[in-house]
Structure formats: C-alpha cells, structure tokens
Amino acid sequence: MTPRAYRVAKVGAEVTVPLAILAGWQLWTAHAGSQYFPTLWTILKEFREMWLFSQFGEHVVPSLERIGLGFGIAVVVGIALGIPIGLSRWARLWTMPHIEFWRAVPPPALLPISIILLHSIENRQKVAFISFFCVFPVLLNTIDGVRGADPTLVDTARSFRIPRRERIWRLVLPAAAPQIAAGMRNSLSLAVITMVLAEWWSSTRGVGYVLLISKNTFQMAPMWAAIVLIGLLGYLLNVLFLLAERRLLAWHRGWRAAEGA
C-alpha cells in the first residue's frame, strides 16, 4: 500500500468506525427491541428534550456548581498544602503516612460518614465530600512537582540572593506547573464521579439524582440520556482543561521538544 493510500485509509477508518458503531447500535436496538436498550435515536431525542434546556437549570446547574466548587476548593487546598510539604523533608515525613492512607480509601466508604459528621445533606456536605477526595491528586502532584524543581535553578536563584518567597513563587511553582496541571486534570475527572456518587446517596436535584430516579421508575430513555450527559460532561471538562493547559503551558511543550532534539 502506498503511503498516500495508507493515510487515506487511516483517516477513512477514523471517521467510519465511530459511525459504524453508532449505526450498529441503532440497528441492533431497533431489531432486538429490548426495553433496556432504547434505540440511539430515542436516546438522542430524550437527551435533547431533557437537557436542552428544560431540565438544564434544575439539574445540570446544581451538578456543575458542585463540581466547580469541589474542584476549586481541592485545587486551592492541594496547592497551598503541597508547596510547604514538598519543600520540607520533615513535613513530608510527617504527612505522607496520612496522605497515603486517605488517598487509598474508596470514596463511597465515607459517604455515610460525611453526612453524619456534617449533620447535613445540603450542598455543603456534597461539596465537602467532593473536595476532600479531589485534593489528593493535586496535593500529590504538587508535592512531586515542587520536589522535582531543578536544583541548578534553585542554586542559581540562591546565588542571586533571591529571597525564599520569591524563589517559590517565581521558580519552584512555574517549574512544578506541568505536574500540577496533570494532577488537576485527574482531580477534575474524580470530581465528576464523586459528584454523581454524592448525589445518589443524598440529593433531590442534580444529574446523578435524575439518573437514580429514572432507574427507580424504569424510565429507560431518560436514564440513558443521563448516562450520556455524564459521560459528555466528563469529556467536555477534560477537553476544556486541556485547551487551557495547552495555552498556559505552551512553553513546556516547546522546551521539551527542544531538549529532546
């Protein structure tokens, strides 16, 4: 196969395979007539009816709020704690046992406890739950990024008598930024799923709630529409984040490329 033909075939496959899968889905569900697997068309129709835009305000917005707040708090706390811990060997020795423990706990295990301790099933309980677990990817990556700051860079700054605070702000933090960004991305996808779990456990509004209710009332199409929305949400948030990262960390790609040469 000539290189050109190969490339054409590749692009062709890239486009046709997804379409084929979708078409296959539609055909199979239409034919099999299973009540649990509505046709693709039905799902899309339901999706459009529910989320654009009748139930958007009532359910999507609260869910997004929770994700936003939870993620936001997690990032701030994760970086704020990660920097001093990353810089101090003693702090690391002291805190790592705890960090390693809490990040290994499956989040749903703490759902009931979060309600008991906070005496509430209001938004703050869910946000607290989400942000608690989303701290860890950011925290761990910040610690790693800060520790990995090039000693030559640090020595250079010290030789120029740059005060500690400036060193951290102007050198350590930017140097750690790529790593922190990766942690933030993980944290964001974690935020989506912890949001769903929290909503299942104790909520009357939100995408997770809709998902649960549809299942309880055996409404298949809305249930699928909710699943699709959740997947889409995760996907879009990730893409948006990557775009922002691409912009802000363009220097990193350039630098890596130059180094590799």
């Binding site: 075939a9 899968i21 649990y36 020795l93 761990l140 799923i193 769903v196 299942k215 995760g234």
Partner: protein
C-alpha cells in the same frame, strides 16, 4: 493526551549535603500516626464532635477487633477482595493484548481513537443503574463494573508502553531479521512492562473502588454492603469500624501495587534518567 502519571516518576532528592541518622524516619512515622490516633480519641471523648457521631478511636478499634473475630466479617472482606481481584484480572487479560495490538498498529489505533476517547471518560459508577436493570443485583454486575473501570487506564498505559519502545532497538532487531512476533516478545514487551505496571497500580485502585461501590449501592455481599447496612440501621460504631477496615484494605492494596510497580520500574532506563 498526556498520561503524566506523576506517581510513577522517581523522586529526585534535593542535593542534600547532610546525612540523617536512619532511625529518625521510622520514629517520625510512628509519632505521626500515633498523634493522629490520639487526636481522634481526644476529639471524640471530649465531645468536640459528639461521640455518637464520631465514636472514639479506641471504641472503633475495639469494634473492628471484635468484628475481625467473626466469620461474617471475613466473608465480607473476601467478597470485596474477590470483586477486586477478578475485576483487575479480567481487565488485565483484556487490556494488555488489546493495548499491545493498538500500540503496535498505528492504523488500528487511529481507527479506534474516537470510540476510546468517548468511552474512556464515562465514570464507570454511572453505569450502576443500568447494571441494576440489565445484569441485575448480583455479583456479575460487580465484576462487570470493576472490569470496565479498570480496563481503560490499563489499556492506555499499555498502548503508551508499546509506543514508547526505543525505535533504535526495534530497528536493530529488524535488521538482524528477527521475526515480528519475537520482536514483540523480546524487545517491545519488556520495554513496556514498567508502563503496564503503572497501569496496573492505577487499575488496581479503580477496581477496588468500583467493587466497593457496587456493593454499597446494590447491596451485594461485601464490605460495601456492610457500610450501607450499618448506616441504615444507625449502627455507627460498626459503620466506622467497617469504614476503617475498607481504608486499611485500600491501603494494603495500594502498597502492594506500588511495590510491584517499583520493582518493575527499577531497571527501566527512564528511571536512570535523573538529570541530564
């Protein structure tokens, strides 16, 4: 698509010019945990947080201890561990071969890129309601969920690992006429092992979380079910004991996976990278 798994990076220790007495580190470790436990005990006993809401550390540990003497407890642990193990095992059996195939074939990878990118971000737990209705509330759902969730990180990591093999090594083998399968077996796979090990560490924790979640929300036998049950019936002391048990299980699995990963990573050239 950056799988910058920072946890897999070797720590680069700062240029320290002092040596510490090796005893200090375990000491701090013990002190740190001991003080946290003491704090827990204090907060609960003094009523800073009502003892009903937060049973004291000693109460919880005692409860866990007495539970650990029952068969029922270990039965639950066994169920969760089984869910984790089968989920991880199936995911590995599927993800590694597929990952190798996709990593080796540019064409296949392109063809399947879009479906993978769309299926990957679906939080597996969101499928629980669907599983409720289709596979039903039985262990099949738990296994399916754990497998589905654990599959993706491992697939991606395997693909990366296969792609990351040093092209010079592969070309050298080709020039010596080494057949394709052998090239895969002798050069590509060993080079990809560290990535696969990292993938397994991630997938391991995902599998546990999903097995537990399935048990919690579907009432399947296991630690998840215990947590749900004790909460429903206001048995807070047991609840905390089970939560502690899950935490410890999670920790044990995490340490196991990390240790295995470190061994696999040790010889890999990327770990000898250090500084240029």
């Amino acid at each position: 698509m950056e799988a910058a798994e920072s946890e897999a990076r070797l720590e680069r220790a700062p240029a320290a010019e002092r040596r510490r007495i090796p005893l200090v580190e375990p000491l701090i470790f013990v002190l740190s945990i001991a003080s946290a436990l003491a704090l827990w005990e204090l907060v609960s006993r003094t009523g800073l947080i009502a003892e009903r809401d937060l049973p004291a550390m000693s109460t919880t540990v005692e409860k866990l201890w007495s539970l650990a003497k029952t068969e029922d407890f270990w039965g639950a642990v066994g169920h969760t561990v089984r869910g984790w193990a089968v989920g991880l095992g199936l995911a590995t059996a599927l993800a590694v071969p597929i990952g190798i195939a996709l990593g080796s074939s540019d064409f296949l990878a392109s063809a399947l890129r879009v479906p993978i990118e769309f299926l990957r971000p679906i939080p597996s737990a969101a499928l629980i309601p669907l599983l409720f209705l289709t596979l039903g509330t039985n262990v099949k759902s738990e296994i399916f969920l754990a497998t589905f969730g654990a599959f993706w990180p491992l697939l991606i990591q395997t693909m990366y690992g296969v792609r990351d093999v040093d092209p010079v090594a592969v070309d050298t083998a080709r020039s010596f006429g080494v057949p394709r399968f052998e090239r895969l077996y002798r050069i590509t796979l060993p080079s990809a092992v560290p990535y696969i090990a990292t993938g397994m560490r991630i997938s391991s924790s995902v599998s546990l979380i999903l097995a537990f979640t399935a048990e919690l929300f579907m009432g399947l036998p296991g630690l998840g079910q215990k947590v749900g049950f004790t909460e429903l019936n206001g048995l807070y002391e047991e609840l905390y004991a089970y939560a502690l048990a899950v935490g410890l299980l999670g920790l044990a699995i995490h340490l196991l996976s990390t240790a295995a990963e470190r061994r696999a990573l040790r010889w890999h050239p990327s770990q000898r990278l250090g500084t240029t």
